[in-house]
């Protein structure tokens, strides 16, 4: 089944790319933006049909490789 993970920078970590994107949006006329934080999205197809086991597996991947927990948070999203 497919499991997705979203990795985002923690709140107190500087995100210069997000800041530049925000400024660019602003200059394009999107003036209602409070903040932009850039992150990463992974779609992982695992050989596992049990949703709980698949989710646990991807969570383990996030902890060990996909995210660096000093600066990033992860969120697992079940897809199908």
């Amino acid at each position: 089944m497919k499991v997705s993970a979203v990795i985002t920078l923690k709140k107190d970590v500087l995100d210069p790319q997000g800041k530049v994107i925000h400024e660019t949006l602003d200059s394009m006329g999107f003036n209602s933006v409070n903040e932009v934080r850039q992150g990463k999205y992974f779609e992982i197809d695992v050989k596992e049909n049990d949703p709980k086991k698949a989710k646990d597996l991807v969570e383990d991947m996030c902890k060990k490789l996909l995210a660096n927990l000093v600066i990033e948070n992860y969120k697992i999203i079940e897809t199908q």
Binding site: V13, L14, P16, L66, N68, V70, I71
Partner: protein, 227 residues
């Protein structure tokens, strides 16, 4: 004295490091990342470059390569490990030294000479060094050292900050901070101080006619300390 330089796919300072180590008297071996075992070494160096094209996060893929199991065991048993630039990024991703290296504050690749202040000489890397300020070269896009407040307190309490970005007189301030690193940190140790990670490249400062000699001073001193 024997040294080993690990080459990862995308390393590009490995041969420069080999030249530097050999010039100052190390018997150096080049080790491929896919090897499992390290030869007997007094010093292991993780060189600069762009291992695995900086995919995911700089150093993250290399930190999981086969040879790193041996490097981690070597470091944990007290062996000397030095990571320069991308090597420093691999060390933080391997959790051999605390913190992370974020994208430079102003989103620019920085390539220039900098001065660094050596504060802590109670370790094998900088013991007996005559100079307090060294001129090294930096070339990186992700050298903005960051750690949590708890980690910062711990590394300060344990004297783990190795070098700071500074001016030529050793003054550390925001103006002399090229990349936004916390506290102008350019290099740090692990708790035991047998692992050193730093962004500047001493191996680029070993020829008076091409660069400067402060790298020579660093390597000569390191060799004497290891002997």
């Amino acid at each position: 004295m024997k040294s080993s330089v690990i080459t990862f796919p995308g390393s590009n300072c490995d041969r420069d490091m080999d030249v530097a180590l050999t010039k100052f008297g190390f018997k150096n071996k080049m080790i491929w990342h896919n090897d499992q075992e390290l030869p007997k070494s007094d010093l292991i160096v993780l060189p600069g470059g762009f291992s695995y094209g900086d995919y995911l996060r700089c150093g993250s893929m290399a930190s999981k390569s086969k040879i790193m199991h041996s490097v981690i065991n070597f470091a944990k048993s007290g062996g000397l490990v030095m990571g320069i630039c991308n090597g420093f990024q691999i060390l933080v991703e391997s959790k051999l030294v605390p913190g992370v290296l974020l994208r430079n504050k102003y989103l620019q690749f920085i390539c220039k000479n900098v001065h660094v202040k050596v504060d802590n000489k109670e370790n094998i890397f900088f013991k007996n060094l005559d100079k307090k300020v060294l001129e090294f070269h930096i070339a990186h896009n992700e050298g903005n050292y960051f750690c949590t407040n708890d980690q910062l307190k711990e590394i300060e309490d344990n004297n783990q900050i190795a070098i700071y970005y500074c001016d030529q007189n050793g003054n550390t301030n925001d103006q002399m901070n090229p990349n936004g690193s916390i506290k102008n940190i350019a290099g740090i140790f692990n708790k035991e101080k047998n692992v050193l990670g730093m962004m500047p490249h001493p191996e680029r400062m070993i020829d008076e006619s091409l660069s400067g000699e402060d790298g020579s001073i660093f390597f000569k001193n390191l060799l004497n300390n290891i002997k």
